[in-house]
Structure formats: C-alpha cells, structure tokens
Symmetry: C2
Subunit: 120 residues, 2 copies
DNA sequence: AGCACATAGATGCAGATGCATCAATATTGA
DNA sequence: TCAATATTGATGCATCTGCATCTATGTGCT
C-alpha cells in the first residue's frame, strides 16, 4: 500500500527510504555496508544489490575505504537526499490515513506517545 | 523450514506440493488453470509460471481444451504423482516435529479434531 | 454477419529472495 | 615471515512477485 502510493508518485520502493534515511544519519563520512546491513536487517547480498540499484539511480555512491581495502564507504548523494525528502510526505500520508485514521483521538495520542519513546 | 527440508531431500518447493495435490484430486480429465488458481489462491501469472516450471520438470502436462480454445486442461503425470508422494513424508515429518511436537497430547488431539473439521 | 468488449492464459521487465561461491584483503598463529 | 583461515562484498543461478500488456479466443449487442 505504501508501495503503490510511492509507485503512483513515481518514487522508489520503501526499502530505499529506509536505506537513504540511514545513510543520511550516517553523515558525510559514509557508512560501511556491513554496518548498514545491521541497521536495515537485510541479508548481505540483498544490501549489495540494493546499493547497486540505488547507485545506478544516482542516489548513493560507494567510496573507497582507506582502513580496509576490501570494503568501502557508502553515502547518499544530494539527489538521494532529495528523493528521500520527496518520499516522506507520501509515506506519511499513507501512515496517517491507514493507521491514525482508524484510531480514536485518544488512541492517536497514546500511539504518538509510544512512538515518541522509540529511540531514533 | 519445510522448504529447506525439501531442498535437502532434493525435492521441489512446497507450492509444487499443493499444486500437484490439487491436480491429483482433479483426476485424469485435468483441470482448467483458472480453477486451479482459485484453489491455490495464486495470481494468474504466478500459476502460469508455476505450470511452466512443473511442466519443464515433467510433472504436469497441458492438454488442449476442446470446449475453449483459449485455455487448456492441466493434469499430473505419473512422475508428478510420484514426486508428490515422495514429498509427503518430508512435509509430514516437519509438521510433526515442529507443530505437533510442541503440543501436549491433549492439544494434539484437539488440533487433529479441528483440522478434521476443515473441509477439503 | 460484424464489431465492441470480456476472458484465458502467456510473457517482458524490474525487483527481491535464497543459496552457493568467488576474489580480494585481513588476521592469526606457528 | 608465511601459510591457514576469516571476513568483506559481489555475483551467478533459479525462483518468485507484481505490474502491465499481449495474443487468441469467446460472447453479446446491433
């Protein structure tokens, strides 16, 4: 459902959102794929291919890693940041419509509080 | 888990089991793909491809349908029946180990009764 | 009959999943 | 130091999912 909303808006799938968000959090130094994999809870090969696709779309880039020549550092590009930003309202609208929209006002508040407790 | 047990035994995936079973039930006249799709709860294209693969493996065959030239009738081959038969003990063992094995004897009986109520 | 529309099924494409395995580099221990 | 081993990440292969679209045939209406 989020997927179809994103598709309709000509935006990439949800998994990209998560990845891009983590990459933004990681900052300009980038992040090692293994670490990203742990955050996203993906199998290694899945992340490798996700990075392929996102890189092909110009949303991320792989930098060579000075401390370990086997690996690299990944980071978002400006385009990646832009795309994630455009994804957010679509995502948020679906969440709002489908989740919050089905709750009583009191429940909504309770949910907001609960979510607020979840660490970034 | 059932999947890996089947793979270890060099047998096809679970979806094939269901399909082969329905085909056996349908008998020698075969069954129309649409009808099979309803029984298996698969999207049309998924069934089409499943039939491709099973046919390639020699487990099913498509017969031309006299009453509607757009479609055909599908049925199992002897090899299909044989394969399904060899899949069953593997499947059953996993079910037994993982499900029944975690229940008290009384619960097992209750489960068996419940399952018995589910129409074929 | 003839044309619009519906239905059966296949297929191209992109992505994802899972497995196995590879190449390159790191680390460890004798 | 050097060989065995471990780790990082990529990749080949098959399957599977979902979407869109195609072909061929069937059906209904005029």
């Amino acid at each position: 459902m989020v997927e179809s909303a994103l598709r309709d808006a000509d935006l990439p799938p949800l998994a990209w959102y998560d990845a891009l968000l983590e990459l933004e959090r990681a900052g300009d130094d980038g992040i090692r794929p293994l670490e990203l994999r742990d955050k996203l809870l993906l199998p290694q090969y899945a992340l490798s291919r996700l990075l392929d696709r996102m890189e092909k779309a110009g949303l991320t880039e792989r930098l060579s890693c000075p401390s370990d020549k086997r690996g690299h550092l990944v980071r978002t590009t400006g385009r990646g940041r832009d795309t994630r930003t455009r994804m957010w309202p679509v995502y948020a609208k679906v969440l709002n419509d489908r989740i919050a929209g089905n709750l009583e006002p009191g429940d909504r508040l309770a949910l907001a509080k609960l979510l607020g407790k979840i660490p970034e």
